[in-house]
C-alpha cells in the first residue's frame, strides 16, 4: 500500500511501458496487418479436408480415395457424403462418384484424416472461405475437393514426406508380392 493515487500511477506506468516498448520491443508490437501481411500458420494448422490425387494429368483416375466410406461413418458431425462409382454392370469401381463435404457443418476435427487407411484425405490450411450463399457455395463437391499431391507437399512438407515414403514402400511391397503371383490383378485390400 502506498499513497493515494498510486494505483493510477502504476497503471500509467504499465501503459507507458507498453506504448514506448512497442517502438523497441518486437514482442510488444503484436498487430498483424492482416490482408497485407499474414500470420505464418504452422504446418500442423488445419481447416477443411481435401482429397489427394497423384498425377496432375489425370486427377480422376489417380485419386487415392477408394470410396471405402470409413471417413463417412467416423465423421462425428456426419458432414461427408460418399457414393461409390459403379460401371455399367454395377461393379464397384473403387472410387467415389459423389464426394460431398458440407463445410458449413464440418468441425475441423481431423478424425477423417486419422482414420483414412489410404492417406487419401488431408487437411487444408486455407481459411479465407467467407461466402454470400450457403448451399451452393459452402458444400464442396468432388471437383472442388481434389487437390494434387504437390499442393499437399507444399502446405505440409514434413508430413507429406513421411506419407510419400510410406506409400512408396507399400507400392514396392505390393509389386513384389504381385510379381510371383503372376497375372492376378492387385485388389484393393482394406486394412
Amino acid at each position: 500500500m502506498g499513497f493515494i493515487g498510486k494505483g493510477l500511477l502504476d497503471g500509467m506506468v504499465v501503459t507507458a511501458r507498453n506504448f514506448v516498448g512497442s517502438y523497441f520491443d518486437k514482442e510488444r508490437l503484436v498487430t498483424v496487418q492482416y490482408p497485407e501481411e499474414r500470420v505464418q500458420t504452422p504446418e500442423n494448422s488445419r481447416t477443411f479436408p481435401f482429397l489427394v490425387y497423384d498425377d496432375n494429368k489425370n486427377p480422376v483416375d489417380t485419386m487415392r480415395c477408394v470410396a471405402c466410406k470409413i471417413c463417412e461413418t467416423e465423421c462425428p458431425p456426419q458432414c461427408i457424403y460418399i457414393v461409390m462409382d459403379r460401371d455399367e454392370k454395377g461393379k464397384p469401381r473403387q472410387r467415389p462418384k459423389v464426394f460431398d463435404i458440407d463445410t458449413s457443418v464440418c468441425m475441423q476435427c481431423q478424425i477423417c484424416v486419422e482414420v483414412c487407411p489410404f492417406d487419401a484425405i488431408k487437411m487444408d490450411n486455407d481459411y479465407e472461405k467467407s461466402r454470400y450463399g450457403r448451399f451452393d457455395e459452402l458444400v464442396e463437391h468432388l471437383p472442388d475437393l481434389l487437390k494434387s499431391n504437390e499442393y499437399y507437399g507444399r502446405i505440409k512438407p514434413t508430413e507429406a514426406t513421411v506419407v510419400d515414403a510410406k506409400l512408396k514402400a507399400e507400392k514396392e511391397k505390393k509389386a513384389k508380392k504381385a510379381a510371383p503371383a503372376g497375372a492376378k490383378p492387385p485388389t484393393g485390400s482394406k486394412s
Partner: protein
C-alpha cells in the same frame, strides 16, 4: 476408506430396513456402487454425511440414467450420486436409486436438503429425465424452456421433425426426410432404398 462391503454392512446397521445392494462398475474402473431403495435413500445419505467415519460432505455429481425395458426387467430410471469427503479427503461413495420409467411414478426423495450442490443437478435430472424429486425446494425446468413438455434425454424421446434439407444426410435423418416429405438428394434416396431391401 473401507471397502464397499463394509460400508454396506455399516449402513444397514445404521438404517434398519434399508435394502442395499452392491452394483459393480466396469472391471477396470473399480468403482462399485450402493443401490438403495427409494424409501431409505435419504436416511442412508444422511448417515453417510454425518457419520464421522465417512463424513461425505461433498456431493460431487448427480445424474440420471435411463435404462430401457429389456427381456427380463421392466426398465427404470436410475439416479446416481457421487459423494466425496472434503474433510477426510476420500471417496467416492456412489449411491444409486431407481424409479420406474412411467412419468407419474418416477419419483425419488430429493437430497438437496443435505447437500445444496444437488439443487441444480436434480433440476437438470428432472428436466432431462422427468424424475420428480420430492421435497425439492424449486423443481422447475432448468435447461429447456418452461413450455416444453418432453424429457429429451430419455432413450425413447422422438425429436421434433424440423428437418428440411441437408446436403449430406445420414441414417435416421434420411429416414425422417422421407417421412416428412422433404427433399433428398436423388442418390441418397437410392441408397436408402437399397439399405431397406437388405
Amino acid at each position: 476408506m473401507e471397502a464397499i462391503e463394509k460400508i454396506k454392512e455399516v449402513a444397514a446397521q445404521a438404517v434398519p430396513g434399508a435394502k442395499l445392494e452392491i452394483i459393480n462398475s466396469t472391471p477396470a474402473a473399480q468403482q462399485p456402487a450402493l443401490l438403495v431403495d427409494r424409501d431409505h435413500i435419504y436416511a442412508v445419505a444422511k448417515f453417510l454425511k454425518e457419520d464421522p467415519r465417512f463424513q461425505m460432505d461433498f456431493c460431487s455429481c448427480v445424474t440420471g440414467v435411463d435404462y430401457l425395458q429389456k427381456a427380463d426387467n421392466p426398465g427404470f430410471i436410475e439416479v446416481v450420486y457421487h459423494l466425496y469427503s472434503v474433510a477426510q479427503k476420500h471417496g467416492p461413495i456412489i449411491l444409486k436409486v431407481r424409479a420406474p420409467r412411467e412419468l407419474d411414478q418416477c419419483r425419488v426423495p430429493s437430497l438437496t436438503s443435505l447437500w445444496r450442490g444437488a439443487e441444480f443437478q436434480e433440476r437438470e435430472a428432472y428436466d432431462l429425465y422427468g424424475v420428480r424429486f420430492d421435497s425439492h425446494p424449486d423443481l422447475r425446468r432448468i435447461l429447456m424452456w418452461d413450455e416444453f413438455t418432453d424429457h429429451p434425454m430419455r432413450k425413447d424421446y422422438v425429436p421434433p421433425a424440423d428437418y428440411e434439407w441437408e446436403p449430406t444426410p445420414h441414417h435416421d435423418t434420411l429416414e425422417r426426410t422421407v417421412q416428412v416429405g422433404g427433399i433428398t438428394p436423388p442418390t441418397a434416396r437410392e441408397e436408402l432404398e437399397k439399405a431397406r431391401k437388405k
